[in-house]
Symmetry: C2
Subunit: 330 residues, 2 copies
């Protein structure tokens, strides 16, 4: 990595600062929770940035609100379209409602009921597609063309990436420098933005992305430095089933991220239940990726100050059994 060569990258720390200014007072400055039990278990000083307590229940609101705020008056009037397995949908829907921008969301028919309902509840028009038959990107592009809508991609967009980075900015602004920052990774929007902020605010920090083992495309891409893909991976981390990093997020990850790790679904579920039982917060499987890597001992955190992004909490708590039997605790 050449940390001096940032001028060619699509998003800079200044963009994160600008995003922080735009979302201030609209997005929650989410609380940072600590647990003596976690500290005792890991030997580290651990800080959980709770984006599950963000508006609509995930960090995605940051990027969506930032992106919609940057639209021209004409674009705002025409409206936006987004496709998403869930949280990005709710994020764009809520941001649209707050900014008076009409929103169309293209969602898979088997998205968690709680996410479908919430998206409609925020006033968006929802168009459902069947994952195997149709290409959600093609559907969205078609809608964008015929209706004059602006497409808001789930992660590969400079304003989306900059918005997500405000989570790490807040964490380090609140707590000072950290030794490690662990971040869930799907398409790479959250980790790109957070890594930009973290490297700027806490020089020397090690930023690590965590993927589900079945959807390890970014880990393989990171190692080979060539973009790898995965097709519809079988994992309970529904927010990290993206097929690959993006044209913007991949170079940002190569530049700003220090390592990538994976966790199995069993490890993920163990971490999720641990966070519910010990921290008393509702975390969705994808939201527990970074915590799982720490709690399973995949990094040597002893004596270190460790930031963990809890990315979201939108899970169907009425049907937890669908995620599989709870594994034994640590």
């Amino acid at each position: 990595m050449n940390l001096t060569d940032t001028q060619k990258l699509p998003v800079s720390y200044d963009d994160v600062v600008a995003a922080a200014r735009l979302i201030k007072g609209v997005a929650h400055r989410t609380p940072v929770l600590t647990s003596r039990t976690v500290d005792a278990l890991t030997g580290a000083e651990v800080f959980f940035k709770c984006e599950n307590l963000q508006r609509m229940g995930a960090f995605k609101f940051r990027g969506a609100f930032n992106a919609l705020s940057h639209l021209s008056a004409v674009e705002k009037r025409r409206g936006v379209v987004a496709y998403s397995s869930g949280n990005h949908a709710q994020a764009v829907a809520l941001a649209g409602r707050l900014l008076n921008v009409p929103v169309v969301i293209v969602m898979p028919h088997d998205a968690p009921a709680v996410k479908l309902e919430a998206t409609r509840g925020y006033g968006a028009e929802v168009i459902v597609y069947s994952g195997d038959k149709d290409d959600r990107e093609a559907i969205s592009n078609g809608l964008a063309a015929t209706r004059g809508l602006t497409m808001i991609p789930p992660f590969d967009h400079p304003h989306v990436i900059a918005g997500q980075g405000t989570a790490a900015k807040e964490l380090i602004d609140d707590l000072g420098p950290l030794d490690y920052l662990l971040v869930p990774c799907g398409g790479g929007g959250l980790i790109s933005g957070c890594a930009i902020a973290a490297n700027h605010l806490s020089p020397g920090i090690r930023v690590t992305g965590v993927e589900p083992a079945a959807g390890d495309d970014v880990t393989r891409s990171f190692q080979s430095r060539i973009l790898q893909t995965v097709h519809n991976p079988d994992t309970i981390a529904d927010g990290a089933r993206t097929s690959s990093a993006g044209k913007l997020t991949f170079p940002l990850i190569l530049h700003h991220v220090h390592s990538m790790l994976t966790v199995t679904d069993t490890e993920l579920l163990r971490a999720m239940y641990y966070l519910w039982e010990r921290m008393k917060i509702v975390v969705e499987p994808t939201g527990a990726l970074a915590a799982a890597a720490l709690l399973e001992g995949k990094i040597d955190a002893r004596g270190k100050r460790v930031g963990i992004i809890i990315s979201g909490g939108n899970v169907d708590v009425r049907n937890l059994a669908a995620l599989g039997a709870p594994p034994a605790a640590y």
Copy 2:
């Protein structure tokens, strides 16, 4: 109520201040969460004091640590005994470990597994009794006599009451005056302490206690001004199955509390799921009592500033079905 005649009461605001000093830096100053969704639903400005995020997962740590801190050196060396359906057990066990006081806990054999395990995990000696056959108070008194242990009652104790009051003190210190404070009510330790603090810090506040409908003894006692009892009430609010208010808490409730309300188990479960799904916090049924009263519209909160004590989060999340089918949302 004669609000000037406080000198005869067993606990004063000064006792709450003293408790706040003793628990500072040991108990968490728990976060206050807000939700625009809740505010929109109720028309109020609602502040949730999250004692489910307290150490050991409930407000009980405040009172237990305060009570054990007041023991003499000899009493500390001999140790303490407590009986509890759950959270008080963990609270005394953890306080004992922190203060190097040996702890014996007398627990019902059918207490939630998560509470039994946590109590043992904190290093306490656990003696299990069968609820129908034996009298837990008699067992505890026997242990106290034969082993020279000091009994730490779950609610009817001045230092326990004063400790619990620090929750409301923190809430109002953080947020300024409130119009309403809604508090879960079992034996009345939490509401007594909180009402003392609330009336002192926010003159004119209306403090309302909320009980499960099946265990409405304090509501009936409050109305008749004569102590009423209930026997082993059938409710999912396991923390509020106490048979009656106490010799200390009852006069404090009569003096400081403005009204009492009840909610059914279905209303309780609806509120619990709402807090999980919308606020993303794990709340046990008893912990949702005050929130249920608000969310079911049992007080007219429109335009008011309302404090809600979320009292605990120790529920067996691996077996939510045991609480009954989730009711439809609001």
